[in-house]
């Protein structure tokens, strides 16, 4: 009996094209788009500026400056149409006899942010000051080797001037490490769409009542629905992981790496799917129509997602919001996935999050089963 119910549920879900789109295609596309779009924001590599140098001055000084800028990895030399910054070295800039040399001109792309412009200016300033110090050192050496040595000892690199230490080591994910778990978690909760559609149609058409008249209990009905969705959710996780590992890198974006325990990933995925199925089941039982279920489901997903760090990563949030995020099961799932993908966590690292998700799911499934039983006892 039970296997027939599970088989029926599988057939219904697999024939629901909209559901499959929501469960597989939507999160896969989100992963791809968000990983590529957020690549630079999450990048841990040094910032670089797409730059063109126009040197109208042919002096040795301006040539040295041009060479120094070119050698600095912060400046990527590109074609003019691709440039965010154009450095214009005017004629006469390197004239050592002139009392006042003309200023370097910088042409900035209109969309450039002010903090990026400031950073660009600071990087360029370093090159200019280094050049000027070199000239001063050379001049001083004609009079005093000691003074020249003192000036040449001045180093303007940040590594030489500052000793930077983090008081707490916190690893920040790259765009793929952030996107994959985010959209796995969010996508899994979209199980509400097929689950509520089938559940509510069964209820409205009195199919559940008919099943009840055939000695099928509310417990069996609920359990037979859980199993296919738990299975589908596991497929969903691995499809999304595969997108992160194999498709995303095709778009010059870092590939997803599973640095932690695969067993932990499987257990966490299972626990998360129990939570998603529990919430979906409860909404499906409470709602009176599929429209109502998809609206309630959609709103609750967005709320849980925005609180739980799906819309905005938790590490970008202020501390109070980070604390608030902990009430969302999506946050528990997300933390668990980041522990495995990013921090290389072992099985025990994700046990707490997984148990919380299992408890959340079990409570909601029990409540939905009781409510279904009450509805069935009303008969036709």
């Amino acid at each position: 009996m039970f296997s027939a119910m599970v088989k029926k549920e599988f057939l219904l879900v697999l024939r629901d094209k909209q559901a499959l789109l929501a469960l597989f295609v939507m999160p896969a596309i989100f992963i791809l788009i968000m990983s590529v779009a957020m690549r630079d924001i999450f990048s841990q590599e040094s910032i670089h500026f797409d730059t063109v140098i126009v040197n109208a001055d042919k002096s040795a000084i301006s040539k040295t400056l041009e060479k120094d800028i070119t050698a600095n990895k912060s400046f990527s030399l590109v074609e003019q149409e691709d440039a965010s910054f154009i450095i214009y070295i005017p004629k006469g800039y390197g004239d050592e006899n002139s009392a006042k040399s003309p200023k370097i001109e910088i042409e900035v792309k209109g969309s450039a942010k002010s903090d990026v412009i400031e950073l660009f200016k600071a990087k360029l300033l370093k090159e200019v000051v280094d050049l000027k110090l070199g000239i001063i050192t050379e001049r001083l050496s004609e009079f005093s080797d000691e003074a020249a040595a003192a000036v040449s000892s001045v180093k303007l690199s940040t590594d030489a001037l500052f000793d930077l230490r983090y008081n707490e080591k916190e690893e920040v994910p790259n765009a793929t490490q952030q996107s994959v778990p985010t959209w796995i978690v969010f996508g899994m909760f979209f199980i509400i769409i097929p689950m509520s559609t089938i559940y509510i149609n069964e209820r409205k058409q009195h199919t559940l009542v008919r099943l009840n008249s055939m000695n099928v209990s509310a417990f069996s009905m609920t359990l037979s629905k859980i199993i296919p969705y738990l299975f589908i959710a596991q497929i969903q996780v691995w499809v999304m992981v595969a997108v992160g590992m194999f498709i995303v890198p095709l778009f010059h974006t870092p590939a997803l790496e599973i640095n932690g325990s695969v067993a932990g990933l499987v257990f966490l995925s299972f626990a998360l799917s129990v939570a998603a199925v529990g919430l979906s089941s409860l909404i499906a039982v409470i709602a009176d129509s599929t429209e109502q279920a998809t609206t309630i489901g959609g709103i609750s997903n967005i709320l849980l997602g925005s609180i739980g760090g799906v819309m905005v990563p938790k590490f970008f949030m202020p501390e109070t919001m980070q604390t608030l995020a902990n009430i969302s099961p999506m946050s528990w799932g997300l933390d668990g996935f980041l522990d495995i993908f990013l921090k290389g966590g072992d099985f025990f690292t994700i046990v707490n999050e997984s148990l919380m998700l299992l408890l959340f799911g079990a409570v909601l499934l029990t409540v939905s089963m009781l409510l279904l039983n009450r509805r069935l006892s009303r008969g036709f």
């Binding site: 009996m1 219904l12 058409q205 009542v209 099928v216 006892s377 008969g379």
Partner: protein, 238 residues
């Protein structure tokens, strides 16, 4: 008697859906249950199928006490709801196999349900592609899978064309020929006259009249529809 309903009361809050109802249904007959909307027909069907509990009274079905032996009663009875209670996205065959499997029904019954309801040529069609009449027949066929001794039809001909309606009525007569006791509710008096052996009229949860169709039509010397309207309007006026 296969069904004996004695002084049954069912309350929903302050409303008595059934109010001391008593009636008896004989074996192997088609029993027409008549009543206006809200008379208590659906409540009685829910109760007889073990879906809703009663507050007072007793019910025996094939000698089994409904309160104590509900699982056994469910095994020997079947309901065909007014709604199309099957899965539109499954084929006719998949639907029949599903309902057959969950009731552990025999292959013989599965074939019988298909033949009596003329579904052989639609087996591989998804249910949503069937016509209204074909859907009704599938709904009925599912009710036959567990080889029931009693089967309840809740207005099975609502919203379908006359040809399909006649086919369904013929199928119900075929169910009777298999020795199954049929309880049939409908708003169409001509259908009741056409297929029922016995008739009961209920209103406001109470039995107004019960007897064979023949007796009622002979003694009242009028059509069943006129008689039904007269009976129910008397009760409404009280």
């Amino acid at each position: 008697m296969v069904i004996k309903v004695s002084n049954v009361t069912k309350r929903y809050g302050d409303i008595n859906a059934l109010d001391g109802l008593s009636l008896e249904i004989k074996k192997g007959r088609i029993f027409g249950l008549l009543g206006v909307n809200g008379a208590g027909k659906s409540t009685l069907l829910s109760i007889l199928n073990g879906l809703t509990n009663i507050d007072e009274g007793t019910i025996e079905i094939f000698g089994l006490d409904l309160k104590k032996e509900i699982a056994e009663i469910k095994n020997i009875s079947s309901i065909v709801p007014q709604n199309l209670a099957f899965y539109e996205k499954l084929t006719v065959k998949e639907n029949l196999e599903f309902f057959s499997n969950i009731q552990k029904a025999s292959k013989e019954n599965y074939i019988k349900a298909i033949e009596i309801n003329n579904l052989s040529e639609f087996l591989n069609q998804e249910a949503f592609t069937l016509s209204g009449g074909q859907k009704r027949r599938l709904n009925m066929a599912i009710g036959l899978l567990n080889d029931p001794q009693i089967i309840y039809f809740d207005e099975p001909t609502v919203g379908i064309d006359p040809k399909s309606r006649n086919d369904i009525l013929d199928s119900i007569k075929a169910y009777k020929d298999l020795g199954i006791t049929v309880v049939y509710t409908s708003h169409y008096m001509n259908e009741i006259e056409k297929i029922c052996d016995d008739v009961a009229v209920i209103a406001k949860g109470k039995l107004i009249e019960q007897g064979t169709l023949k007796e009622i039509l002979q003694t009242k010397s009028e059509t069943l529809e006129k008689h039904f309207l007269a009976l129910t309007s008397e009760v409404q006026d009280v």
